[in-house]
Structure formats: C-alpha cells, structure tokens
C-alpha cells in the first residue's frame, strides 16, 4: 500500500506544511466551522498558511469559509487550526473532504477539536446553544474510508463505539461548569446537503435519535478515529431545524448566530486547551 496515491499526496502535503511550521509542533488540531473562524484570532505567534500554498489541497468555496491553516499557541498549548473546511456538498470526494485530517495525522497531532454550525432538532434546544457531540449518525450514504485501506494509517474496520472521546467530553463539561458556560450533550446527524432538510426529514431524524443536524464533521471524525486521534466535537446550534419553528431557514441566520456564540465557544475551547497542554 506504499504506492497508494492518496498516501503519497498526504505525505507531500504534510512535508510542505511541516516545512512552513519550522520547528513548531502542534499538539491539538482544530477545525473551525461556519461562522466560527474567529477563534484563530486567539492564537499568538501565528503562522498562516493558505490552503492553496499546500500541495494537493482542494480550495474551499463557501461564504464564511476562509481557507487557511493558522498555527499558534493558545493558553500555552500549541495548536493548528483549519480556518475553513471542505464540504461534501461542494462536490469534493470524501477523500478530499478529509484530506486535511490525514495531514494532521501525518503531523503527529493526537487530538482533534472539531466544531460546526448545526440545526437543533431536540425541542429543548434553542439557537445559540452549544452542544457537545457525544455520538453521531452518518446519514451521508458515503464513507471516507471506502477504497484500499492504508494500513499505516489504521485498521480496515475501525471501531466507532467511542468516536467522541469520553475523557475529552468530561473535560469540556468540567471547563464549561467552571466558567459558567451552558452546554448541551447530544447526537449529531450528518446529511449530504446542500438543501436544508424538510420538516418530515427532521421528524424522522428525531425518531432515529438525532439531536442536531449538519453537513460536515462526520467524515472528518471517521478519518480521525481511523488514524487513532482523540476527538472532541462541538456544535453551535445556529438555528432550529426545519419545521421546528415556523420561519424558513437562511444561511445568513446560521452565520449570524454562530458569530454570537463565538465568545462562549472561545472560552470553552480555551479552557479545554489549558487542560490539555503538556
């Protein structure tokens, strides 16, 4: 499997990134979701690397997604942020969507904090809530691990019984409690998009046990787990899902609410990074 083309591309991208990072070794990687890119401003001693300067990188197309790596230090913890991510609905293959996570693994980063904007399904949620992801449902009808397995990365059949690390969840809940940040816990269901869901679909997802719905995260988490990374997932409930409230959904509302939540998300992630730093 050493000839695997994807494996080679990941190696080359990681090598280029490592060169740009100099001696900087990130401990935690963060994926900043829709409207949540502002977290990158928390970093000090930053190095910015636009995606288009890394070999084999796709370029993000969605409004609200900038498209660059930002490396730096937060609360003494060296981190590497993805400001902007690749979505399946943009037409990328699952391998492209998860390419950056492969690169993170190649850079020996052991922990991934993944954030997203999601629609609230559980009726007790409201726009602006933060939800710690305790599990997910892959409703994308696709999987980034289809194809030959690269054994250097991980097993053919990765376990998903604890996709979201229990210790990280407990850590995030402790930080939230200490800082007076209200957090929910729930199951995230990922759909292909890009059209928003119908009310009938949201009712079905509720019956299946989903608490929030979005168009990202799950492929990234599958790949992170495949290569043995520990994952913390945080959804910003940017709106209530279709049919829960009377008004139609708009991407503008999603971006606006995400920005409002940003301060609380920032405090939460800062606190978690403080706990994680070695």
């Amino acid at each position: 499997m050493m000839d695997n083309a994807l494996y080679r591309r990941v190696q080359e991208a990681a090598a280029a990134l490592r060169e740009r990072l100099g001696g900087f070794q990130p401990q935690v990687a963060l994926i900043l979701g829709s409207g949540l890119g502002g977290f990158a401003a928390e970093l000090s001693d930053t190095i910015e690397i636009p995606y288009d300067q890394v070999p084999h990188f796709p370029v993000s197309t969605v409004e609200g997604h900038a498209g660059k790596w930002v490396a730096g230090t937060v609360e003494g913890c060296p981190v590497l942020c993805m400001q902007g991510r690749f979505h399946y609905y943009e037409g990328y293959s699952m391998q492209e969507v998860t390419f950056p996570v492969r690169v993170m693994g190649q850079l020996d980063i052991g922990t991934l904090i993944v954030t997203n904007a999601a629609g609230g399904i559980r009726r007790t949620f409201q726009a602006g809530d933060l939800m710690l992801i305790e599990d997910h449902i892959n409703w994308m009808f696709n999987n980034p691990l289809r194809g030959p397995n690269v054994d250097q990365w991980g097993p053919r059949f990765p376990d998903m019984s604890q996709a979201y690390d229990r210790d990280l969840l407990a850590c995030a809940e402790k930080v939230a409690a200490e800082n007076g940040i209200a957090v929910q816990r729930g199951v995230y269901i990922a759909v292909p998009g890009p059209s928003y869901e119908t009310p009938a679909e949201i009712r079905a997802f509720a019956k299946l046990g989903a608490d929030a719905v979005g168009m990202s995260t799950v492929p990234e988490v599958i790949v992170a787990k495949h290569q043995g990374m520990k994952v913390l997932g945080i959804s910003c409930i940017s709106n209530m899902a279709s049919g829960i409230l009377p008004q139609p959904l708009s991407h503008e509302d999603v971006i606006r609410t995400s920005r409002q939540v940003q301060n609380r998300l920032t405090s939460l992630v800062r606190g978690v990074l403080k706990e994680l730093r070695r």
Binding site: Y89, E90, G193, S195, T198, E201, R203, A204, K207, V254
Partner: protein, 276 residues
C-alpha cells in the same frame, strides 16, 4: 457550473424557438400518466432527443417528449416521460428539465408519480397529495459548486410543497368528489423494490408512500424558485405485513385504472391556475 447554466439556456432557447406558447405551468407526468398530454391543445411536441443537452428516458411506459400547449387555456409544458436516477443518470441530469422549464418562464411545477402506499389507511388506486418528502436517495442534485444565477447555495426546504398550491389542489379534489389522501413521500434510489424490513424502517420514519422519483425534482425546483405541487397515484400497497411484491406491470395497470380520475383532477387544477 457556468457550463450547466449554459446548457440549460441552450435547451430552453431551442424549445422556445420551436414553440409559440410560453408556458407558465410545468407538468411532469409519471408512470402511466402520459395520456394527460393528449388533453393539451398542442402547440409543439418536441422529442427529448431533439433538445440539446436533454437526457433521454429509457424506462418502459415512459415516452420521451415535451408537449407544449394549452390545457384549459393555461399555457403548459408537459414532460411525457421523466428521467430516473436508477437509470444511471446523475442527479444533475435528472433535474435538467426542471431548470429548463424555469428558464422557459414556468412558475408552478406539478409533479406526479406512481407510488407504493405505506400508510395502512391507504388502498391501491387512491391519490395522495404530497405534503412533504424524505430524501432517502443518498444523493442530492445540488452537490457541487453552486451557480448563484440558478439559486441559493443552501435552499430552504421547510415548505418544499407549496401550501397554497396544495390547498388549491385539495379544494379542487373536494369539489370534484375525488378522494385525496395526504402524506409524506419517501424518495428512494431504487431500482429494486424495498424489503419488508426497509419498509418497516420507512414507516417508523414517518413515510406514507414511497417511490423512485420526484424528490430530486422538488429540490431543484425549490432551488430555482419554482412552486411545487405533487400527487402520487398509490398503485400498490407496500404494507410490510401483508406484502405482495409489486411488479412494474401491476403498477402500470393500476395507474391505468386511476388515470381518468387523476387526469380529471389535474386538468381542473391547471384550469384554476390558468385563471389566476
């Protein structure tokens, strides 16, 4: 993506060149319903194969032509024969006609199909007004770069089937004493019929009927700002506990029996739209 819009424009330009009538209502005629096109006061009949970039249907019981003219004085374009995902078309191909109709000036899209009934209150031969759908095809016609000239990146689907149009259709049915069920249509990819376990799962998820079309067209229509009304002909019962496997012949036979009532309903409804 600019290519896609250019293809849509070329197809629409060709159709507009062949037809005098400028349609405002689009009709997609599902399995066995093609004869509704015979009620149209025809201006032009254009085989799909003549239209640039138009995909051509292969399934039995589906002819492939656009019929343009007036139905009850309302200027319409009817698709006699539709494209299905299971035939191997991409979702983007399946919805080409929707964008072409929009480009021709259509504002209201009426979708029809043959569907299996899941709701135990239904029986074969009934009509069901589609109130909402479940997209279980695993695909979406909008995956890929978005062309903002066609519609928004993230279209709202909270009222995918227009409430006003649906109410109008229900009223026409009442006036004509045509029984009309209502429910949620589950769109699957097919082409195999569903297993009993799959049917039970669909029932659990809130589906009232299932079929292999319509969902992609509805998503595209909402993307480009078309109002949608849709009716299923329940051709067989997909009740997992009293299950007789459907055959395509059976589906067509039942569609044939329901046809007069279905045509009466749609004709009267289009007539009302024409008066607006």
């Amino acid at each position: 993506m600019a290519d896609y819009a250019a293809k849509i424009a070329e197809a629409a330009d060709y159709i507009a060149f062949r037809a005098q009538v400028k349609p405002t209502v689009g009709l997609v005629l599902g399995s066995g319903l093609g004869d509704l096109a015979d009620k149209i006061d025809v201006d032009a009949v254009i085989p799909y194969r003549d239209i640039p970039h138009f995909p051509v249907s292969t399934v039995a019981g589906h002819r492939g032509e656009l019929v343009i003219g007036r139905l009850q004085r309302c200027p319409v374009v009817a698709m006699r024969g539709r494209l299905h995902y299971y035939e191997g078309w991409s979702m983007a191909d399946v919805v080409v006609p929707v964008y072409v109709m929009r480009r021709l000036g259509v504002r209201v899209l009426i979708l029809t199909n043959a569907a299996g009934g899941l709701n135990p209150d239904f029986s074969p031969g009934q009509l069901m007004l589609i109130r909402d759908h479940l997209n279980l095809t695993g695909a979406n016609p909008l995956i890929g770069p978005n062309d903002a000239d066609l519609g928004p990146r993230f279209p709202d689907m909270s009222q995918a089937y227009d409430r006003g149009l649906s109410e109008g259709l229900a009223q026409v049915a009442r006036r004509l004493s045509i029984p009309l069920q209502e429910g949620v249509y589950a769109g699957i990819d097919g082409p195999n019929y569903f297993s009993k376990a799959e049917l039970r799962a669909l029932l659990f998820m809130g589906a009232d009927a299932l079929g292999m079309s319509t969902v992609a067209e509805t998503i595209a229509a909402n993307h480009c700002g078309l109002k949608v009304a849709a009716v299923s002909c329940i051709t067989d019962m997909a009740n997992p506990d009293l299950f007789e496997p459907p055959t395509h012949e059976l589906v067509l036979e039942m569609a044939e029996r329901v046809k007069p009532m279905f045509m009466e309903l749609l004709t009267a409804f289009v007539g009302e739209l024409g008066e607006e």
